[in-house]
Amino acid sequence: MLLLDLLLMLLIAYGFGFLYYGLYRNLSARVHGRFGPSLAQSFSDSIKLFVKEESTTFGWMFYLGPVIMASGAVLNVLFIPFLNQGESLQGLSSYGNLIVVLYLMVLGPLGNALGVGSSGNPFGVMGVTRGLTRLLALELPFYLAAIGVMIDAGSADFGIIMQAQSTQSNMFAHPLLFAAAFISFLGFMGKSPFDVVGAPQEVYSGPATEFSGKFLALLMSQSAMFSFAKLLLMVNLFWGGADHLGELVAKTFVLFVAATFIGSVYARFSTVQSVEFLIRIPTLLGIVGLALL
């Protein structure tokens, strides 16, 4: 039964991750004054890439990189409960808590660095360096907000954190912590102005430069699932989770559209600028939010 539940969670994360990515392409096309591709475009892309020939080889670590990233994304999806009540769609959340999830979130970038590093492609390495530099600054405000939420609920368990929000969600109870986490979340989602990692016109595809065929498809799939996991995390920590699947879809959709629109109107920071911004504003908001608890 648990196995079936886990499979269902992965399927939902995969499906909605790609649907949201299609929606992102569509919405940003509308912002540009275009029509954009169909919603299902990302599915076509990933299936095409899965049946495409693999042409590059840089040793086993190169292949292991995307696998480590994918396992990070899969574990993240499984450790975050989808719903705040009932038995179904809880995954492995009873075996882990928020601290485990925050720890697992770093696994992806680490796998990426190992894989890309062995390819020796300068654009890939530049992308990874940018990513890890930004990650240092991203984690600080997000961890501050997470610590605030944990102190408020008196526990690191997702169930208890969501239960504590039954009268008032953390977004309204602790707006400063929410602001800090939301800005950091924009960066985790790779949205402008923090999209320094795979920045087109600067480092080409960044870390993905040398990946082709099945491994590129794996990277795309894990990125879609990881995005859904991050949406889930924000919904659980600040919006009180969801009672049923419909509410979950509605909440993640609103959060995603907000992130997409903010990402569409801002120009990209340079790496140094993004680190400086993240260390100054959201971190400060997080510290003040913690002090007001």
Binding site: R34, F35, V51, Y204, E210, S212
Partner: protein, 204 residues
């Protein structure tokens, strides 16, 4: 009755239809996904490059067809050679094409790729791109408008869905000696590594 352009075109289309009917459902589905997700490596060799930005941006928005630009040959399905090629450029074009993973296709954009166009008697450009690389779809004109390029993509989609064994990348494998001989005749001793080493052991 049987001569002329229209009957010839009809015979080509009939051939595509007959190939399609012999495919299994899975093959057809994969071909459909391939046709609706085309990653393009735009190699701006000549003046044709100027028609590509409007094709990809708001005015003509080719992303509607699932066509997006990518930065590296590793991820690309389609190589657009946009205009005339000098031997020096052609070397890089061939190198880029050989780095792409299969299935891969080439679009020759502009008259220069067909017969040299206005550079027909130039001493330092090639006349016919198809002698050196297998071109899947030509878009003629000098310069072809973005509408023509979009039409080229639509025709190429049909060709990909037909999943024909005549596709360029299969030709490049099976008739490599022909392409290589032409490349060597042009480049002399300064040639790139032999591509066929990449598919040693494959059933050609």
């Amino acid at each position: 009755m049987d001569e002329g352009f229209i009957p010839y075109q009809q015979s080509l289309e009939d051939e595509e239809q007959s190939i399609k009917s012999t495919q299994s459902v899975i093959e057809q589905a994969i071909a459909w996904f391939r046709a609706h997700s085309m990653f393009v490596l735009a190699y701006g060799t000549g003046c044709g490059a100027i028609e590509m930005p409007p094709t990809f941006t708001s005015r003509y928005d080719i992303e509607r067809l699932g066509v997006v630009g990518v930065a590296t040959p590793r991820q690309a399905d389609i190589l657009i050679v946009s205009g005339y090629c000098s031997p020096k450029t052609l070397k890089r074009v061939i190198r880029s094409y050989e780095q792409m993973s299969e299935p891969k296709y080439i679009i020759g954009l502009g008259s220069c790729t067909i017969n040299g166009g206005m550079y027909w008697d130039s001493y330092n450009t090639i006349k016919k791109l198809d002698d050196f690389l297998p071109v899947d779809m030509y878009v003629n004109g000098c310069m072809p408008r973005p509408e023509a390029l979009i039409e080229g993509f639509v025709k190429l989609q049909e060709k990909i869905r037909a999943n024909s064994s005549e596709a360029g990348y299969i030709q490049y494998r099976t008739r490599y000696a022909h392409y290589r001989a032409n490349q060597e005749r042009l480049f002399g001793t300064q040639v790139q590594p032999r591509y066929e080493e990449n598919f040693a052991g494959m059933n050609l």
